[in-house]
């Protein structure tokens, strides 16, 4: 099968869906003439015209607010917030308007908007933030965290077709990664995890770019005869808890890893679900979380490598759950 980059898979999803649904519009900073800083919207304006694809002023609250207004009127805006740090400026229209509109209108109105927000791992205290957990805390929003090109295409198409507001976290560090991506259109349903790798000893749950580090850790551990099963939930809201529970029933051990700060991160929610559930009796050892150690991601690459969780951190966590000596 053909291989495609993550950024190009997003672009292909937008092209394919805009071609069949004229209610879809795309706007944001640098997305039209330049085609997005990573090319995810390249050529869209040429193909679909400047009424449907256009650049905006530097105006994040306005971009999302206008998008929500248009969505309430039946359009399907796909808006871009160039970096996750910028999403803080647009919290009001996301949290107070988009997430509440269906509810306050008792179902007579809805907000089919996709808010694309781009996360970075490193080198920037503002842009290097992983803020996905905040949005899981707001009823009415769906939260998508794709980790590869195949998923990002199918999840983007599902997000556009979803009748409710979706916060879609892309990752700058994944844009150039490639995998097999079908040329035809397909949807990946929300709330359906994928098993990235099967294994027997420990379950590791991770999403977005963290998955790359988990895969490196799993392969290192494999050579030490430790078999890791990797679960990628793909969407945090809705969450496929059953898939995680099934895996833990088999392995009896759980590690949750994310680039986001450990305190208040979504890993805590997954751990809490176990604490509340019958499934916890299958656990042979305490759950271990891996996350940012509670430090703004510093500019210096030398420094940020100590802060952003790595394959080594995952490896250590897995060994902790197995009560093995750590390197």
């Amino acid at each position: 099968m053909r291989e495609l980059e993550y950024a190009k898979a997003i672009r292909e999803a937008l092209f394919q869906q805009m071609g069949v649904d004229d209610q879809i519009v795309c706007f944001g900073e640098d997305i039209a003439l330049y085609g997005g800083l990573w090319g995810a919207t390249k050529g869209l304006q040429e193909e679909f015209g400047s009424e449907r694809v256009f650049d905006t002023p530097i105006s994040e609250a306005g971009i999302v607010g206008m998008g929500v207004g248009a969505a309430l009127m039946g359009m399907k805006p796909v808006v871009e917030l160039q970096f996750t740090g910028l999403i803080t400026v647009a919290m009001d229209p996301i949290v107070n308007t988009a997430a509440k509109a269906r509810y306050i209108n008792n179902g007579s109105m809805n907000v089919p908007i996709v808010i694309r927000s781009i996360t970075m791992s490193a080198n920037n205290v503002y842009m290097g933030q992983s803020l996905e957990a905040w949005f899981t805390h707001v009823p009415g929003l769906k939260v998508v965290v794709p980790s590869n090109a195949y998923d990002v295409k199918g999840l983007m198409i599902a997000a556009i077709n979803d009748p409710d507001p979706v916060v879609f976290f892309e990752h700058e560090g994944l844009y150039k990664t490639v995998c097999e991506v079908p040329e035809e259109k397909y949807e990946i349903p929300f709330g359906k995890a994928s098993v990235s790798k099967e294994g027997n000893d420990v379950t590791v749950v991770a999403w977005s770019k963290m998955l790359e580090e988990v895969e490196i850790a799993a392969s290192n551990l494999e050579s030490q005869n430790i078999s890791v099963e990797i679960i990628d939930p793909r969407t945090l809201v809705p969450l496929d808890f059953d898939a995680i529970a099934r895996s833990v029933k088999k392995t009896g051990r759980l590690v949750i890893a994310h680039e986001a700060v450990k305190v208040g991160g979504f890993g805590g929610e997954i751990a809490a679900r176990f604490a509340e559930s019958e499934i916890s009796k299958y656990l042979k050892s305490p759950i271990v979380r891996v996350g940012n150690k509670g430090v703004p991601v510093p500019y210096s690459a030398e420094l940020s490598k100590y802060v952003v969780p790595s394959a080594e951190d995952v490896e250590r966590a897995v060994k902790t759950t197995m009560d093995l000596p750590k390197a």
């Binding site: 039946g74 209108n105 809805n110």
Partner: protein, 333 residues
């Protein structure tokens, strides 16, 4: 539809405007009375003293046009066809309300009537209106949206971003500021270094007009011109209506005398929008004293009937609280 000039309004229009403005006045009075008596636990953001703005502005709209009210634009609901009973049910938040008790009346949306729900975040409706305008422009139906907000909203970033986007994209939006000179408990001078909010328009490249918000015909003239411009594809306008909320921000909680000089209120009360309309109508022989009496009777009766019915309407069901969060629910996240 081309909106008319105030000179072209008929006796029928005068009486209709009077009736709707009086509905706000008496509705507010009744709700506050019922609150005082302990019959209703809720209060409201009164539009008393400001009734000319919503009526004068919305009177230039056709049925397919949209409006997004501020927390105080009660008149937009009457002008768009919401009934007194529907509004009262919404104030109470019972099962007869359009949101089924999920939102207070001033933020209720009536999509079939072209009323968009706002939110409690002052000024958040401004970029939303740009989005409504974007969609109307896209549909090429020549419809427009009026966005209402108070003076307090103009200090927010949303105001700036919404007006800038509407101007840059040439959207069919009429921004109507109800400048009632107070930000909740403080005079507007606390948050504004200028006197006229319409001055801000020049910074966005759109026309800005200040108008007497007590005079329904003056408001109508200015807004209908802006509506016509927007309909013709000539972009947005910022209109500032100078007014005063006679009862203050939220009278069941905040005492007017703690906030404002009594004399200022007296001065403004001499410019009561209902009296200005009435005098103008009598001069033109469009409204007689008998008309006023008859309209007052009709409106009073309608409100009394609505109170009786709304108080008998059952509370919303427990299930309602858990419905309409997502189209397809999936349980706890």
């Amino acid at each position: 539809m081309v909106a008319k000039n105030a000179n072209d309004l008929s006796a029928h229009d005068y009486r209709k405007m009077y009736s709707m403005m009086l509905t706000s006045r008496l509705f507010t009075q009744k709700v506050l009375e019922l609150n005082k008596e302990g019959v209703l636990k809720v209060g409201l953001h009164p539009s008393t003293g400001q009734e000319a703005i919503g009526i004068g502005a919305c009177y230039s709209l056709s049925t397919d046009d949209w409006v997004i009210p501020s927390l105080r634009t009660m008149e937009a609901f009457w002008a768009k066809g919401v009934t007194v009973l529907e509004q009262l049910n919404a104030v109470i938040g019972n099962s007869g309300s359009i949101s089924d008790g999920k939102e207070s009346f001033h933020h209720c949306g009536y999509p079939e009537l072209g009323i968009m729900a706002g939110s409690s975040i002052v000024g958040s409706q401004v970029p939303l209106a740009a989005g409504i305008g974007l969609s109307l422009k896209n549909k090429k139906t020549n419809n427009v949206v009026i966005c209402f907000f108070g003076d307090g909203a103009t200090g927010r970033g949303d105001f700036h971003e919404g007006l800038n986007l509407a101007a840059v994209l040439n959207l069919p939006v009429v921004f109507v500021c109800e400048n009632n000179l107070y930000f909740q408990t403080v005079p507007a001078s606390v948050g504004m270094a200028i006197n006229d909010i319409s001055d801000k328009a020049v910074g966005y490249g759109m026309p800005g007009v200040t108008v007497d918000g007590q005079d329904v015909f003056a408001v109508y003239d200015v807004v209908s011109e802006a509506v016509n411009r927007a309909r013709n594809g000539d972009g947005p306008t910022l209109i500032e209506c100078k007014t005063l909320s006679f009862l203050g921000h939220y009278p069941t909680m905040l005492k007017l005398e703690d906030i404002r000089d009594f004399k200022e209120n007296q001065r403004w009360r001499k410019r009561d929008p209902l009296e200005i309309l009435g005098t103008n109508g009598r001069d033109k022989k469009y409204i007689t004293s008998e008309d006023v009496e008859l309209i007052t009777k009709q409106v009073t009766k309608e409100i009394e009937n609505a109170v009786e019915m709304a108080l008998q309407t059952p509370a919303t069901s427990r299930e309602s609280a858990f419905k309409e969060i997502y189209k397809n629910p999936f349980g706890e996240i």
